[in-house]
Assembly symmetry: D2
Homo-oligomer: 340 residues x 4
């Protein structure tokens, strides 16, 4: 790390910072410029760095402390250069084949879920998505069927030979949801719910960690690090749009995050064009773009009758739309050397 | 609510929307413009509105559905015109007197907490702040002393006749933290952790709900509504800075949110200038501004030796700074007709 | 437009708003809800709406005025349903073929520009980009060669049978730049420089209007409307990344803006992945995504020796990179039914 | 500046960067860490730094180049430690007394401007604000009276013994506007209109530079540097709200920018609570906060009949409001040791 001293720092103050770094047992490399002194600290291990940086930043004669290394280890490509491929009961996520997760936003009834799941499976999806526990901005919106929803998902997935991904919001439910789901989804609102991340780290079920609404890529990878530190290495990331000033789309889907993540981490990257745009009419184009940009998977909302959906109907595709999407997607995947 | 039909909507499609609204039992008021038809729906109760809006938005021939009323009820000033004053064991929050919450970012040791608390109390603070459970972006940062920290806070607060505010992150700890704390803090990362909000709603301990990093005021009030709906009416809000593109400050403290909230809600509003700026040198000026703009309380980080702090030393005031702050704050409070 | 009255509005105040609308000569359609009265105004022409909305919003008993129609006319797809195809001396922009604009960020020397232009032309680019007037955040950065740069661009383009696109920043230079350029670029910092837009509207040279760093799509189309109103119908839009909290990329390229624009406007849409990401390593992936999402053209920075570039070397491709990019792009274009 | 090498950088590549820095004539200080090599460059003058940083960033084996010094000189407090006080014909801006600029958003008629100006003057304003050239998002909104408006402002200001501040948008009008105005306002949309900044730098009339909608403080000061470099040292800055995701307020007034600027620069800082909030009901509270936080001046929109205003009526105070505001502001100014 690099410590930039304030421009009025005295020789004693510079000495003080150097002593602190030496006392912690690290190498000290000062550079005396004409207007600022900069001190390099060499050999500080990841596990201590955050603490030391904060303590130096608190000194009134330190202007800035700059971390040089990425503030995560197990999530970094430096640590593991080759791509992680997660095996979800035979479905690889992170390899050449693009994983297709599709289904209703919310499990409302057995029939609605079956109808959506069947159409998605027939069109090529291998993983069934559907919310049993729903995080709703309004307390007056539908909050999900809970365990009843989990049972519906599992039963239908078994019959259709699909895998299940569903959201877990409550730390007390991680084990329960793991009994029914093959992938635990941690939603955007809980990306920094650290107790939930720690519980997910103890689990051995795969986890899809959605990006927080206003999370920097670096913070997102630090959240993934919480799970990895717990020993669960089956972590995938999901870009679902970030919050910006634009109001025409519900969120701004940050597709540049996909190749950025590919540089920084070995973890698979999924894209959610439904949440990312909030508008059905934009989903097809953004799905193609997600594949072209290098996503390892897609998660898409499909509802047999969007206008009867209890949640997010405006961004749900009909089953017919989804069939069309899969058809148009295939040549794009091939064009970038991937398969569906 | 107002339904804006797509510009290519046919007479049948307009009729379809009108029928749906009538079937739900509400009044229908169409306005036929030259380029768009707009349909007003009258009498839709709050509890159903979110669901109906989503279902109409899902129709391909509907362009937009606009909610006219605020999407929260118990939190609104329409519902309760007079200011809520919360009584925290004799300390009023929301009245003429400005509540001063101060103490260390994190409880590190008994001595450090005592030193900070004593100085804060002597300077006029009545509520002791301090983190026992810390939400840290990095899994390698200090995560707090847990229950040991709660015991330190309680013991010191009792000796100094102060009240305790401290953060609860885990739904499983709401009851535990309530045994030691007088005010439960729900942090920015958990503003939309709905299970935590529901647990806080079941409690009768006062709750300070911090604004999510990228939460609109409307979403923040909907989060408060979750707690109020549970029956806990002792809710205060805390502006702590929002995430923007600016990097000089850690967050952008949105002081306009204070008078905005005063228009929209009856709940007390606290301001956190320490988190809001992330820089010790800016805290004093922003604290004065917070009082001038109408805040009902302040929460400020004070550490006897910031450079030894395990967290957030850079934004912590020294005890001497805090004494000075309280001295300079008093005339500002008086200038706006408040007392400290 | 829809006027939402304040919830304490009296019968006289409602009557006052109705009279004002009637006095302006428009239809009045009140809807009396239980908590709010809403008044629809029908027949207000575009040219007067902005003014009337502002005047009603200024009334203390009006809560909100909502515009139903888009606040632009000539730019809208309602006005002109079919796609605009701009003919730049035989190069169509907006049709099936994707226009490739490439070249150096900045014209530095004849040789550097020639080397870049030749490589780009050979790889398939038809339009030569290059800055003669450079908008630099720092006054100490290179500001461009000015008219000397324009001459270099024109000469090289003539020899290579390419068209020229280059930025105009100063209203006094619109005519001058038009003498050398086939397309005038209006940069992100000048998207709301209305005098420049008006001058561009008087010109008959094609204009590429880049999105402002924090411009909503609606504001961007209103800026385009300024040019269209002047009588210049050869306007194309260029998405070049918006400003968000993310710092890993220089900007956040908003690819969802492309299909969004396709819904709202008939104007061609170009994407700039170089400015959009600020990182050479991300340009290839984002370029493919831009084509997959429906862009009508691309503008890409190519420098023979990026590390010698006077500006933006970090985001410039080498000539070899660009050849590779064009090769990989072709199958993606074909996969979405377009040609290069 | 500090160059962080990529983690795969070879000895030759490190040597290459060192040679480049030496060839430019600067000192080289490498620090060899276990995972990254970092190279400090000492003695690089401001005027060359931006260019060298860009050139090193373009190397594929350089991960990052970090500037240590602020990228502006004449605007910095390092360069000029004492506060700049601008003398506008006897009115000091930047000293102990808070400058009050008030008047209509837009000059509409002589009578309306007179009525507003007279009320503002009588209540204590010394500088008359009013737009003759108006930057309007919509081309259909009122664009201002132009030179006719300038004449009205000058005439009324002379009669009332006030100074005039008004916006200049077009480089061709800098001299014209200077003939009528005592302070040139450069608006938020033109903060990075560098030709306009250069023209303003050539002028000797005082300039108020508003912050760009999404300008970082550092970029804002670089824009000021453009003017200062031209030799015009009479520059003041104006915080007018930044663009964020919040929609309840028109902009988010960033009051933390005021003390932040006080640390970084010697230039006076004005606050615009009218544009900053876009809502009349919030102006009073934010004005008090602006004074408490340390603003050197205020610019406030006042209209005798806001509901007849051609622009921005919703954020304009009535004359009575303004009298009340000045009355309530006085004790706040005194509480922070300032006068009105």
């Amino acid at each position: 790390m690099i410590v930039v001293m304030a421009n009025h720092a005295t020789a004693e103050q510079i000495q003080d910072v150097e002593s602190r770094i030496q006392d912690w047992g690290y190498g000290v490399h000062p550079i005396y410029g004409s207007e600022r002194t900069v001190i390099g600290a060499v050999g500080v291990p990841e596990a201590d760095k955050a603490r030391y940086m904060e303590s130096l930043e608190a000194l009134p004669y330190v202007e800035q402390v700059i971390g040089i290394l990425r503030p995560y280890k197990f999530a970094s490509r430096d640590y593991k250069p080759e791509d992680t491929v997660i095996d979800v009961n035979g479905i690889p996520i992170g390899g050449n084949q693009i994983a297709i997760m599709a289904g209703p936003c919310t499990v409302e009834t057995y029939e609605q879920t079956w109808e959506s799941a069947k159409a998605c499976r027939d069109a090529g999806a291998t993983i069934l998505r559907g919310g049993a526990y729903k995080p709703s901005t309004s307390p007056y919106s539908f909050q999900g069927l809970g365990v009843e929803g989990l049972k519906i998902l599992r039963d239908i997935a078994n019959k259709l030979e699909m895998q299940v991904i569903t959201e877990v919001m409550d730390v007390r439910n991680v084990e329960l949801v793991s009994q029914y789901a093959d992938i635990l989804q941690i939603g955007t609102r809980n990306m920094q719910n650290y107790d939930l991340l720690r519980e997910a780290g103890k689990s051995r079920t795969a986890v899809m960690l959605k990006r927080g609404m206003s999370a920097k890529i670096e913070e997102w990878l630090q959240a993934a690090e919480y799970i990895l530190l717990g020993g669960n290495t089956n972590v995938m990331l999901c870009e679902r749009g970030i919050r910006t000033f634009e109001t025409y789309t519900r969120n701004t889907l940050d597709l540049s995050a996909v190749p950025a993540l590919k540089e920084l981490t070995h973890l698979p990257v999924i894209v959610d064009p439904s949440q990312g745009t909030g508008k059905r009419s934009l989903v097809l184009a953004l799905t193609k773009a997600a594949v072209a940009v290098g996503a390892d998977g897609l998660i898409i909302e499909v509802h047999p009758h969007p206008e009867q959906a209890l949640k997010d109907g405006a961004q749900s595709l009909t089953c017919e739309h989804f069939v069309q999407l899969m058809k148009e997607l295939r040549p794009v995947a091939e064009a970038v050397g991937r398969s569906l």
